[in-house]
């Protein structure tokens, strides 16, 4: 949404002065997000402990050799819970944003390809979805089927596709109007070829930024809903829920709070680095 104003607002002096640091920053961000993804994918298997196994005699243990990140009120291993929570959140967010990206991109390209009434209709549809703020939509879906993952997934996908639609509609317009596409079509190549050879390569840099960004946004939305208690329900390990559970024991067991907060902060940091100047909507 801010894309045009931001590119216009970027100072000219940054053209080569900031290029290299920007690229290093972006790589660092991708590295952080990648590490988090690896932790989420392999963590639960590597830690091995059951995130729901309670041991009431080991309540609120500080970090030690048996439990690297300590235990919570019910003696559950914080590391195991963190790994499962990361897997759940990142997995759900990634699936939601991937399945929002495909229809979003296709509709965006279709809109700028067809133009006319079809485009106006699609823009109207996107506007309609934009009338409901994203978190509100996810919240309503969560209320529709409390504690169900599919409801959260639906809400996330439905609110995320609009961004893909807008970006790919704007980015594919100059490509579709360009000489290369015209030449391809005059040579008799079909829409699938044009899409694969001309449009998708032009879109891929934008999409490679948007995908990690929207996945991270989705993780944050999930954590926010979990934190206020309307997202995923206990006893499932979830980042926001872990924070809610840890908040009353902040004084005696700060590590309980630090684990999910730290993971989210890392995620947010990685996202900010990937997104560049950090002024994305």
């Amino acid at each position: 949404m801010t894309a045009p104003s931001r590119t216009a607002a970027l100072p000219a002096l940054s053209a080569d002065g900031l290029q290299r640091p920007a690229r290093t920053r972006r790589r660092a961000g991708l590295a952080i997000l990648g590490l988090l993804a690896v932790f989420a994918a392999l963590g639960p298997a590597l830690v091995g402990a059951d995130p729901a196994r309670q041991a009431l005699d080991q309540s609120l243990l500080p970090p030690g050799s048996a439990h690297w990140l300590g235990t919570d009120l019910f003696g559950r291993s914080t590391l195991a819970r963190l790994a499962h929570a990361a897997q759940l959140s990142l997995g759900l967010a990634l699936v939601a944003s991937a399945s929002a990206a495909v229809p979003g991109v296709l509709l965006g390209v279709a809109a700028s390809w067809r133009g006319g009434g079809a485009e106006r209709g699609l823009v109207l549809l996107a506007d309609a979805v934009l009338a409901v703020p994203g978190l509100l939509l996810v919240l309503l879906f969560a209320a529709l089927a409390p504690g169900q993952h599919w409801a959260l997934y639906m809400g996330l996908s439905l609110s995320l596709w609009v961004e893909y639609f807008r970006v790919s509609r704007a980015a594919s317009r100059p490509v579709l109007a360009g000489d290369a596409v015209q030449a391809s079509r005059l040579l008799g190549f079909g829409p699938v070829y044009v899409l694969r050879r001309h449009v998708l390569p032009a879109l891929s840099p934008v999409l490679s930024t948007l995908l990690p960004f929207s996945a991270a946004q989705a993780v944050l939305a999930l954590a926010a809903l979990g934190f206020i208690g309307v997202g995923i329900q206990p006893p499932t390990a979830e980042l926001g829920l872990m924070m809610t559970e840890a908040l009353p024991h902040y004084e005696e067991a700060p590590w309980l709070m630090a684990a999910p907060v730290g993971l989210l902060m890392l995620l947010v940091l990685g996202m900010a680095l990937v997104a560049g100047t950090g002024e994305r909507a």
Binding site: A8, A9, A128, A131, A224, I228, G240
Partner: protein, 330 residues
Amino acid sequence: MTGRTTTTTTASTARGWAGILLRRGLQIVALALIVGTLCFAMARSLPGDMATRIAAGRYGYDLVSNAAASAVRGELGLDRPVWQALLSWWGDIARLDLGTSFVSGDPVWNEIAHQLGATVDLSVAALLIAMALGLPLGIWSGLHPGGRVDRTAAALAVLLRATPPFLLAVLLMLAVAVHLGMLPVAGDAHAGSLLLPALTLGLGLAAGLARVAGAAMRQAAASPSLVFARAKGLTDRQALWRHGLLQAALPVVAYLGVQSVFLVEGAVVVETLFAWPGIGHALVHAVFGRDVPMVQGAALCMGLLFVMFNLLVDAACVAIDPRRRTDASA
């Protein structure tokens, strides 16, 4: 000659306004349809017998009998076919009839009217904080690019902008209320209790605002119009106040429009956290209580607030930027 130019300008201004109003009006209709349909599905998908649940919510589980449940069923019309029920549900929304709360039995409008005030208070306070912090910082760093203030502001902005409201809220709660023991953590008993939730929302906004204002100011300061203003004999200060700020205002106002999502989404989370008695708090509370009319009313109201805020931003953009008055298609 001048007369004709004025009329065409007025006509295109009117057309521009009509476009803006039409777009936002359609958004309101879409909002009502989306929220209404979701809430209808919610009402239908409640586990167990809906009439019994509602009766239990009203009279307590001990006093629910079949007679009470069927009285509720008749009263709320829960025994019609789905499409008929959905149509009449939409009709109720169109007639601005939001029904009565399942739990308290009061009309939803009454409850929302109370809470809306609290949410508007919070949003306005957050906006004021954001502007008071973000704008001077942004303008200063835009006029002195690369300076110490600019670099500090940039680093702070990345940090703050990236911290989601609920995380910021927790950190603020722990730092200010628990450690320093200065402000009440939750509730609305004192004026001081507005400060913490407003600060949570305001800080996040201020960070982005400072960055955008800085970039806009830098661009405005480098623009030919400011050079011309200096050349015709204005002092730096006069040129800045009369030309620079107005030019820099446009991206800042447009940015506020984009950030209204942040304000609305943040309100849900922050109000719940700080127990601020606004619409977001009511919404989450209603979700817990499965109070569908309240969920619907609160969601509609938040959506309306969002669309209205966007409309205000549109109007401000048109007022600031004369170019939009002639080709306002956006």
